[in-house]
C-alpha cells in the first residue's frame, strides 16, 4: 500500500488553492495511516464545514461531511456505536473554536477515543476571510479592516484545561514532526487534540501582506520553537511546538460499556 492508495483519486486535483496548508495535513495523515499499516476500513473521518472540512471527501475511509461546528458530536455518536473505528476529526479554527467551541470543550472533558485535528489558518477561509477566535489581536481580515481587537484562544491551553489527555501543536512547515505527532495522537487512547498551524495564502496571507505559501511557512519556521528548547527559553515570543499533554484517564466508550453491563445486571 502507498499513501496515494488511500485517496479517492477521482476527486483530484483537489479543490484547495495553490499552496493551501490543508493539503499538507492531508498528505501527512495519509503517510501516517499508510506507515501505521491501518486498514482503511477501520478508519472513519468526520468533518464539519469549511475549506478544511473538505478533507473528508478525499480520503478513502468511512467518511461523513456534516455541519459547521458539529463534527465532534456526529463523531461521538458514530464512535459510541462502533468503538472499534479509528476516528479522525479534522476541523477548521472557526469550525472547532467558534461555532463548535462548546462541543470541543465537552469532547475534551469526556475523553472519548478519537483524534481531533485543528487546522488553524487563523481565518475563515471558505467564507472569504473573516477573522476567527484564533486570528488574534492585530490581524487584518475582511471583518477587521482596521485590525482585530480580539485576543485569540490558545487552542492547546483550552484543550488542556478542558481535560484532553493528548494535546500537541505543530505546523505545516514541520512535516516530519507533524507525522510523528499524528502517529502518537492516533495511538493514544482517549481524546487527542493536535493543533496544526497551516497557511491560507489566499485570505490570511494576502490580507495581512505576509506573502504566499512559502513565506507563511517560513513564518512558522521562524516564529515557533520546540518545547524545552534553548531557542524557546531565550525568546518568549516564539510559539511553542510539541506534545504538551500525554496522560491516561478512563475512556468514554469503555465507561459506557460498563454502564451497559451494569444495566443488564452482568456486573
Amino acid at each position: 500500500m502507498a499513501f496515494r492508495d488511500l485517496i479517492r483519486e477521482r476527486f483530484f486535483p483537489h479543490i484547495w488553492c495553490p499552496g493551501c496548508g490543508h493539503g499538507t495535513v492531508l498528505n501527512s495523515l495519509l503517510h501516517v495511516v499508510d506507515k501505521m499499516g491501518l486498514d482503511p476500513t477501520s478508519m472513519c473521518m468526520v468533518s464539519g464545514i469549511g475549506c478544511s472540512a473538505r478533507i473528508s471527501g478525499y480520503v478513502n475511509f468511512h467518511t461523513m461531511h456534516t455541519m459547521h461546528g458539529r463534527a465532534l458530536p456526529c463523531a461521538t455518536g458514530i464512535k459510541l456505536a462502533k468503538p472499534q473505528l479509528n476516528m479522525i476529526v479534522p476541523m477548521g479554527d472557526g469550525d472547532a473554536m467558534a461555532i463548535g467551541g462548546n462541543h470541543f470543550i465537552h469532547a475534551c472533558r469526556r475523553n472519548i477515543d478519537m483524534t481531533a485535528i485543528v487546522l488553524n489558518n487563523r481565518i475563515y477561509g471558505m467564507t472569504g476571510g473573516q477573522y476567527s477566535p484564533l486570528s488574534g489581536r492585530g490581524v487584518l481580515a475582511t471583518t477587521a479592516p482596521y485590525r482585530s481587537i480580539d485576543d485569540d484562544f490558545d487552542a492547546v491551553a483550552l484543550a488542556q484545561g478542558a481535560g484532553a489527555t493528548f494535546v500537541a501543536r505543530t505546523t505545516a512547515f514541520h512535516v516530519k514532526e507533524l507525522s510523528k505527532i499524528l502517529t502518537k495522537a492516533i495511538q493514544h487512547k482517549g481524546f487527542s487534540v493536535v493543533e496544526v498551524m497551516v497557511q491560507c495564502p489566499t485570505y490570511f496571507g494576502r490580507k495581512n501582506k505576509m506573502g504566499g505559501a512559502v513565506q507563511l511557512l517560513e513564518y512558522y519556521r521562524d516564529n515557533t520553537a520546540p518545547l524545552g528548547s534553548k531557542k524557546l527559553e531565550e525568546n518568549q515570543n516564539l510559539i511553542p511546538r510539541g506534545i504538551f499533554v500525554e496522560r491516561e484517564r478512563p475512556e468514554y466508550c469503555e465507561e459506557y460499556q460498563n454502564v451497559i453491563a451494569l444495566a443488564e445486571g452482568k456486573e
Binding site: R4, G19, C20, T24, N27, V175, V214, L217, E218
Partner: protein
C-alpha cells in the same frame, strides 16, 4: 522508474517543494515543478511537503533520516 515522479496534472505551482528541497533540486518551469536528478538525493521531503500530493519519491534513500525540515543536518 523516475526517482522523483511529479504529477503535472495535480501540481499547482505553489513553489513549496522548490523552496524547501534541501538540495535545491527542484524548480518551477511553466508553473509546474521539475526535478534535476543530478542534484536530488532522494530524501523524500518534497513528497511530504506537497499540498497537492503531486510528488512521489520512489525508493527514498537512507539520507532521508539526516534531513530535517531545516535542511541537511
Amino acid at each position: 522508474m523516475e526517482a522523483v515522479e511529479i504529477n503535472v496534472l495535480w501540481c499547482k505551482g505553489c513553489g513549496v517543494c522548490v523552496a524547501f528541497c534541501p538540495k535545491k533540486a527542484l524548480s518551477l518551469v511553466g508553473e509546474k515543478a521539475q526535478v534535476d536528478p543530478e542534484l536530488c538525493i532522494g530524501c523524500g521531503m518534497c513528497e511530504l511537503y506537497c499540498p497537492d500530493l503531486a510528488i512521489v519519491v520512489n525508493k527514498p534513500t537512507k539520507k532521508n533520516e539526516k534531513v530535517t525540515e531545516e535542511g541537511l543536518s
